[in-house]
Symmetry: C2
């Protein structure tokens, strides 16, 4: 099989899919920290996200005011940076969902 091509394709597909996934999850469940998001997405979708992908992604979402973050000290261990979606983030993910569903409808109709 052409696995190398598929792997490159998966990497490209993530550009766009990941921000949509993260915002969708945060819209639904409010509170996540980065490291946990990586594991949660892996558990739910088998999509592996490199740490070097997720942390810069979260910073971009924050720069765009789609999420906010707060540091939370732990009684034991390293502090976690928790993310919450904003009102603007919810509006954005609603728009994304429309676009996604439109593409999906077409794919399924082929």
């Amino acid at each position: 099989m052409n696995n190398e091509f598929i792997n490159k394709w998966i990497s490209q597909l993530k550009k766009g899919t990941l921000s949509f996934l993260v915002l969708s999850i945060l819209k639904d469940e409010k509170e996540y920290y980065g490291y946990d998001l990586i594991n949660e997405i892996k558990k739910r979708t088998a999509i592996e996200i490199a740490e070097g992908t997720l942390y810069p992604l979260m910073n971009r979402l924050k720069d765009e005011n789609l999420v906010v973050s707060k540091w939370v000290e732990q009684s034991s261990g390293i502090p976690r940076k928790y993310y919450n979606i904003t009102a603007s983030g919810i509006d954005t993910v609603v728009e994304m969902t429309k676009y996604w569903n439109n593409i999906n409808k077409t794919i399924n109709s082929i």
Copy 2:
């Protein structure tokens, strides 16, 4: 609304989606030329593909032996380069569909 962000997102989402869409359409309907694919996809999905996006994309698919092309002279007008999907292209789009459906299932379950 945060339209600028959405527009950038749509552009990123196309990285991966377009090759999947093109291969899916070719799998279903065999024969298309580039210019026609742009219009067909626009008609079906409202996704606008720049010419500077589609033609290099088709060349990549050809380099990967997922499609083959042939020039067809027209009785009037400019010659068209027609594309057909290969056996390897069909295998690839089947794999892509599995991955896509997996993501989609997750999105819908949120």
